[in-house]
């Protein structure tokens, strides 16, 4: 199972990714996907600008994916992260985990997202509808806590 990792500006289609994963095989029973969308909490957002570290983004998501593949019996794993200007309501990130059964697929997708949030080198900045540039979005402590859930006891 080779994880598919894409860093791109273009939007993506969940159904296309699932179809590509399951084409020509019938051993996948469960596909869990996470789609992260651009939220506008106050009605003042023109869009989020996503800066990323080319090269490291692919490498780091690849390492997270390899960890997921080592922990769960996966038959497919996709991670797509967009960069550039993303409008409110638009898709930012997709994680898709396929397995024979649902438990592995749910856990792997959940794990991937927790680690993507804290390890993938992306930074969000707000562009406001009044034309001004907002601040850089601050990292949340709860994301670190979420990632901690997956640490195995020594």
């Amino acid at each position: 199972m080779t994880p598919l990792i894409r860093i791109q500006h273009e939007d993506f289609s969940l159904q296309d990714e699932i179809d590509a994963l399951s084409a020509g095989r019938a051993d996948i029973g469960a596909v869990v996907s996470f789609a992260g969308l651009c939220r506008d909490e106050n009605g003042t957002l023109a869009g989020l600008e996503l800066e990323h570290y080319p090269g490291m983004a692919e490498a780091e998501i690849g390492r997270v994916a390899a960890e997921a593949a080592a922990r769960w019996p996966l038959m497919g794993l996709v991670a797509i992260h967009r960069y550039g200007l993303i409008r409110p309501g638009d898709q930012i990130v997709l994680v898709l985990a396929a397995s024979a059964h649902r438990r592995a697929a749910f856990e792997a997708a959940d794990f991937m997202m927790d680690y993507l949030k804290t390890r993938a080198p992306f930074w969000k900045r707000e562009h406001r509808i009044d034309g001004t540039l907002g601040g850089w979005v601050e990292a949340k402590g709860e994301d670190d806590d979420a990632a901690q859930r997956w640490e195995q006891a020594p």
């Binding site: 800066e51 490498a59 780091e60 992260h81 990130v93 997202m113 949030k117 992306f122 930074w123 990292a139």
Partner: protein, 97 residues
């Protein structure tokens, strides 16, 4: 004389340093190639050396505990050895996903 000893004797070695998000804005440039002292051992040592270069760096690294680093595309702690890293990155905590 070993390669390491040769580098140490030369006194400096070139590394590419890249900055992202508000670290990039405060430093004032996205990347630069610097000849750093060969005796800088850790990421923290490099940060201290950079801060001596000017105000932009001082602002960027005002709170050293916040800025993250990567050595050749791999996350690194302040105590990490620079080793033979060719590309060293500094950036704020990630907010992707």
């Amino acid at each position: 004389m070993s390669t390491a000893a040769a580098i140490a004797a030369a006194g400096t070695r070139p590394v590419r340093i890249v900055y992202f998000a508000w670290v990039r804005e405060r430093v004032g440039l996205p990347e630069e190639t610097l000849d750093i002292p060969a005796d800088l051992a850790t990421v923290a040592d490099l940060v201290r050396w950079l801060k001596a270069r000017g105000e932009g760096y001082q602002t960027a690294f005002a709170n050293e505990a916040v800025v993250r680093a990567a050595l050749d595309h791999v996350h690194a702690k302040p105590s990490a050895q620079l080793g033979h890293a060719r590309e060293i990155a500094f950036f704020p905590p990630m907010t992707g996903g």
